[in-house]
């Protein structure tokens, strides 16, 4: 398979990079973590104006009905720039579930960004992200989609991920297990793309740091051990990227192997981004741990996303099952 981004996808990525690059997102993320959502919600609106929240919504509800590859482009940018908020839940998971259930919060409002939806989907996603800020909370209860309320807060290693228990409310409709699976796959793919973007960011930051930080009379990037560690991250990200885009194509084609491909993408993107974050911390040394230095925001984000939407172990097992079932 040959896959390259179209001019339009590159243009969309550029527009998102430009907007997010100008938006001082690390400061937005810090405020979000402290419970002040004002700037985060403003950013949500601006990203909605660019179409991020409408990508996965059908055209009949004011959406863009875009391809999963377009969604991946958007979420890689969100990951690279650290945008806080339940983007996966509102822009990817909820449109799939609400379309399938045929009821619940208005998809038109989700598409326009005027309503923010979050969701818990146990056992993989037991808590609802940012449920205190979202307008609607959903709970995937087996094959029943329910409205829910924000319950007890839970902590995440990523302070900008404000998790809440979801207290079940009235049922909104039933969803076919295959469609629940597809919604979960799409959300997992979005998470993989975010990891890829976050990994790219911490690698770029580390390379820049290794060039400018001098020790023993030369830039630390001149030392082979540092060079090799960063090159290994480059390789890991470059091997994860085709899996993420391959899974997007498979999901767009509704292929029989789409779930396997999504799992392969998540496992690879998690491992690559996690390696990127560990190497970034090591390259930076003590400054990397510093609260005031933004790198830590990405490192904790990557740690949280690595196990969100299924751990690496879960996804590797899914790939193994698919491979052994095919050969049996």
């Amino acid at each position: 398979m040959r896959f390259a981004l179209s001019n339009e996808q590159r243009g969309f990525a550029q527009a998102l990079d430009d907007l997010l690059g100008d938006a001082q997102v690390p400061a937005v993320s810090r405020s979000w973590a402290d419970g002040d959502a004002a700037t985060g919600l403003e950013l949500w609106k601006r990203l909605a104006d660019l179409g991020v929240t409408a990508l996965c919504v059908p055209e009949s509800h004011g959406g863009l009905a875009a391809e999963p590859a377009d969604m991946v482009v958007a979420f890689e940018a969100l990951g690279r720039h650290l945008a806080p908020g339940p983007y996966i839940e509102s822009a990817v998971l909820a449109p799939a579930l609400l379309t399938a259930a045929g009821g619940g919060p208005s998809l038109d409002e989700v598409a326009s960004g005027s309503a923010i939806v979050t969701a818990a989907a146990p056992p993989m996603t037991p808590f609802a992200l940012d449920a205190d800020v979202a307008d609607h909370v959903l709970l995937v209860d087996g094959t029943t989609l329910r409205a829910a309320q924000a319950g007890e807060p839970r902590t995440s290693v990523d302070r900008s991920r404000r998790l809440f228990e979801a207290r079940p409310g009235e049922p909104l409709g039933s969803v076919d297990p295959v469609q629940v699976g597809r919604a979960f796959d799409a959300a997992t793919l979005a998470c993989s793309a975010q990891l890829l973007g976050a990994g790219e960011h911490v690698l770029a930051t580390s390379v820049e740091y290794a060039r400018s930080r001098w020790q023993f009379g030369r830039a630390i990037g001149e030392y082979q051990a540092v060079k090799h560690a960063l090159a290994d991250v480059r390789v890991a990200l470059d091997f994860a990227r085709p899996l993420v885009y391959g899974a997007a194509v498979a999901l767009g084609d509704d292929g029989a192997d789409a779930s396997r491909d999504v799992s392969a993408a998540k496992a690879a993107a998690s491992a690559a981004a996690y390696r990127a974050s560990r190497t970034a911390l090591q390259t930076h040394g003590a400054i990397g741990y510093t609260e005031e230095y933004d790198l830590g925001l990405w490192i904790t984000k990557i740690r949280a996303l690595t196990t969100a939407w299924g751990t690496v172990g879960f996804h590797r097992a899914r790939v193994l099952d698919a491979v052994t079932a095919a050969s049996a």
């Binding site: 001019n7 339009e8 969309f12 527009a15």
Partner: protein
């Protein structure tokens, strides 16, 4: 209202810019091309005027094939169509030649209002709007940080060192804008997809009725005879504070006539 925005693709200001050693012209292939930053404000202003008064926004660019990327971005922001003047004969044109070529194209497209950025980040002559207005025989309203249109009259606030001048003229006219005028929009997914289907007319020198002798490097009235890299920054002077640091700083500032 027929609004034409002149857009130039320039080397990305983030990347190092070079002149070619053979003919002393800008090496456009060596750097990534982006829309000249001030032109984005011109596009935004055209779109705002269209939203307020109706009409159509045409993007006009003169440049090599790769300027197509900049045209696509302008169309994705919301412009309706584009004209791309592209011909090897135009390479190396100076401001006089460029203004002549654009005048010829504007003769074909027609216009009520031509909007330009006040200058480009590569050549930085800031003369094109004035030359174009002169050639077209219409008023020039330069350095606008606010544009208002009422029927066939146009009023702009022209920024000055001491505040602004209020300048009025009647349409058709040429306006150049500064970055204080608005905040250019980012292209949306919808806009980017819609841009794919918008018409881009490619014109060569002959199509536009341009006399090839008046443009290009050979037709240029000005010539870059030599260039040199900026000298490396000199090492700063380090003053050790021995209780008189403040006085030394004041002395230095006074020697440079800052205080």
């Amino acid at each position: 209202m027929n609004i034409v925005v002149c857009v130039k693709q320039v080397p990305d200001t983030e990347s190092p810019r070079k002149l070619k050693s053979d003919d002393n012209t800008l090496d456009r292939a060596a750097a990534d091309g982006v829309i000249n930053e001030l032109d984005e404000y011109a596009i935004e202003e055209a779109l705002l005027l269209k939203e307020a008064h109706g009409g159509e926004v045409t993007v006009l660019t003169m440049g090599p094939d790769k300027a197509t990327d900049s045209i696509r971005k302008a169309l994705a922001m919301g412009a309706d169509k584009a004209v791309h003047l592209v011909d090897d004969a135009l390479a190396g044109s100076d401001a006089l030649g460029t203004s002549y070529a654009i005048q010829q194209v504007l003769g074909r497209t027609g216009f009520d209002l031509v909007i330009l950025g006040a200058e480009s980040t590569d050549a930085r002559t800031g003369m094109l709007a004035a030359m174009l207005a002169e050639r077209l025989g219409v008023p020039q309203l330069s350095l606008a940080n606010k544009v208002e249109i009422d029927g066939s009259s146009i009023t702009v606030q022209r920024i000055t060192d001491y505040g602004y001048d209020k300048v009025e003229a009647s349409l058709p006219a040429v306006v150049s804008v500064v970055e204080k005028i608005n905040e250019p929009r980012y292209p949306s997914f919808k806009g980017i997809m819609a841009a794919k289907k918008k018409p881009v007319e490619k014109l060569g020198v002959a199509d536009a009725g341009i006399d090839a002798d008046k443009v290009g490097l050979a037709g240029a009235a000005t010539e870059v005879v030599d260039f040199a890299d900026a000298p490396p920054r000199e090492k700063g002077q380090i003053v050790t504070d021995e209780g008189d640091g403040g006085a030394k700083i004041a002395e230095f500032l006074a020697s440079k006539k800052f205080v």
